[in-house]
């Protein structure tokens, strides 16, 4: 039997059903791997061994009874922004130290119901604000391919855990690229669903008009399985849509009848590395030889996307983060004698530099006198960006590009330059502004580090994004290798 920490959900499901391995053995193998590798990778903030063994035991019973779900016995990791009852959940922030949610969020609960086994909580940038996981208040995570490189972010711990073979799949959240970019930088598959596809009940909010929960996995099919298990209407999230759960529809149908849009703007962005461009162009050729037709499309407002995003996301976060006041949960400056000082001192010592920066920026953009020039203008530009995509999708079924203009960079390379860090998301944040589903699949190595291919599809067409990604996976014989740290 191959090393189970390198297999996909589909492969492991078969081994589990045929009783060649038990869920308990599988959980222990992963817990052992975390113990031996995580001192180097630092993907996990907390390991939930007790829960893992309990859920694995339940999974083995379901398997013995011949009644397994689609994810029964599959070990997963959960980003530190998703509430799990009784498990410390901190959004990578000191301000939530010690917080144990009294309930489990819908997306995680649905995975539990499907039989998944939770190994632990993964590291991320504080409140998911960042592109390298260096903004975590606890410690940075390292890229399993080269430990002196970042894993990307903000869901860097989740991406690194899957890449290092510490978890078979994991959950992340994507507000401007926080699933797709780390998936690209770590060499795994990562998907952001359509806004409204997955309930956010139990997600610690960053920017509510942009946030979505999605999976990291080792294959496109795995990604589809996880998404299918999480998707669907939830009365507890008023933005979750009541639509058919058709994300896996015709996933193996291939791209022969498809037109794939190539936006030149996305190939000529500032900082695009030649190695990345070359691998993505090769991937496009491969899709072409698999039968797809490539068409040129244009997204003329691409250059303005970053600016609009860095108004809208901070504005929403400044409002969402107002709830962290030292009264209801988490850190609290209890020595203060009046309520304002309690707020000030708590937030002073609880929030890190990037969070403070964004709260300031957002508060400024929303303040009277600047509202029209910044926030309203950004919302109008958001309309223009949405229209760019609408027009492009009249000419093509999906849009293909690089996920990130660069491969994984060195730790510390961008921490002193917020603008340089923001530019990491230049190819992904358009998908958030327009609410589109997007997936990143590995498409080769440049200088020993993974490159990601991004596929964006129209709203509610996860099936199209997954079908294109699956076709690429087949045509290229791509297999997510587990980096041997």
């Amino acid at each position: 039997m191959a090393d189970p920490t390198r297999l996909t959900i589909t492969e492991l499901g078969e081994l589990l059903r045929e009783r060649e391995i038990s869920a308990a053995e599988l959980a222990l193998l992963h817990l052992d791997r975390i113990k031996s590798l995580d001192p180097d990778v630092q993907a996990f903030l907390r390991v939930t061994e007790e829960i893992a063994l309990e859920q694995a035991d339940a999974a083995d019973k379901a398997l013995a009874a011949g009644d397994p779900g689609p994810l029964t016995g599959i070990p997963m990791a959960v980003k530190d922004v998703l509430c799990v009852k009784g498990v410390e959940t901190t959004a990578g922030s000191k301000i939530l130290a010690g917080y144990r949610p009294p309930y489990t969020g819908t997306a995680v609960q649905r995975l539990f119901d499907a039989g998944a086994v939770m190994l632990g909580v993964t590291n991320c940038d504080e409140f998911a604000m960042g592109s390298s996981t260096e903004n975590s208040s606890y410690f940075p995570t390292h890229n399993p391919w080269k430990l002196d490189r970042v894993p990307g972010g903000s869901s860097g711990g989740s991406a690194a855990a899957v890449e290092a073979g510490e978890a078979v799949f994991s959950l992340g959240t994507d507000t401007g690229g926080s699933i797709r970019q780390p998936a690209a930088l770590c060499g795994v598959v990562g998907m952001k669903p359509t806004y409204g596809r997955v309930s956010r009940h139990g997600l610690i909010a960053f920017a509510s008009s942009l946030d979505q929960i999605g999976p990291f996995a080792r294959s496109v099919e795995d990604c589809a399985l996880i998404l299918e298990a999480m998707a669907g209407h939830d009365p507890l999230d008023s933005t979750s849509a009541n639509r058919p759960n058709d994300v896996r529809h015709r996933i193996n149908a291939g791209v022969e009848d498809m037109k794939l849009g190539v936006p030149r703007e996305y190939f000529d962005v500032d900082g695009m590395e030649p190695g990345v461009k070359q691998h993505v162009e090769q991937a496009l050729k491969m899709l072409e030889s698999a039968g797809a037709t490539l068409v040129d499309v244009t997204l003329p407002h691409t250059d303005y996307g970053l600016a609009a995003y860095y108004i809208i996301a901070p504005a929403e976060c400044s409002s969402n983060l107002a709830r962290f006041d030292g009264v209801k949960y988490g850190l609290s400056a209890q020595d203060e004698q009046n309520i304002t000082d309690l707020y000030m001192k708590t937030r002073r010592s609880g929030f890190g530099t990037e969070v403070r920066r964004r709260v300031m920026l957002g508060t400024y953009a929303l303040s009277s006198g600047y509202y029209d020039a910044y926030y309203l203008q950004a919302q109008k530009v958001r309309t223009l960006i949405k229209r760019d995509f609408d027009a492009a999708f009249e000419k093509c079924d999906a849009i293909v590009s690089a996920t990130s203009p660069t491969v994984a960079f060195e730790l510390g390379a961008k921490t002193q330059d917020p603008l340089a860090m923001y530019l990491c998301d230049v190819l992904t944040l358009g998908g958030n502004l327009a609410g589109l589903p997007g997936i990143s699949v590995p498409c080769g190595m440049s200088g020993g580090l993974p490159v990601g291919l991004q596929v964006l599809a129209p709203q509610w067409r996860e099936d199209v994004a997954l079908r294109v990604a699956r076709a690429y996976e087949l045509a290229s014989d791509m297999r997510v290798e587990v980096a041997l740290v």
């Binding site: 009294p102 009365p235 303005y304 030292g326 209801k328 203060e336 920026l361 958001r382 309309t383």
Partner: protein, 85 residues
């Protein structure tokens, strides 16, 4: 002040420099003519959905207060909000 961030001496200069760089990059939004463009606040059309107005299980008072830094008699405890008269 509005954001209650509790800035300390030295912070202002640090953030002012970085924020002016970021605002400089953001200012290019002003290049676009948007007089007739409607703003987008919600990018996906979701009908305003209200739940059925029926009672459902909720958290107990104890569960809600379990994470409170300070509690007293079933309430969150906070420092004084008003000066004594």
């Amino acid at each position: 002040m509005l954001a209650r961030l509790g800035l300390e001496p030295g912070d202002e200069e640090f953030y002012a420099e970085q924020l002016s760089g970021i605002l400089g990059a953001i200012d290019r939004l002003q290049e676009l003519e948007t007089k007739h463009i409607p703003p987008t606040a919600q990018v996906v059309e979701v009908e305003a959905t209200l739940r059925e107005d029926v009672p459902r299980p909720s958290l107990s008072q104890d569960e809600v207060l379990a994470n409170a830094p300070a509690r007293v008699d079933g309430f969150f405890r906070v420092p004084s909000i008003q000066e004594e008269a």
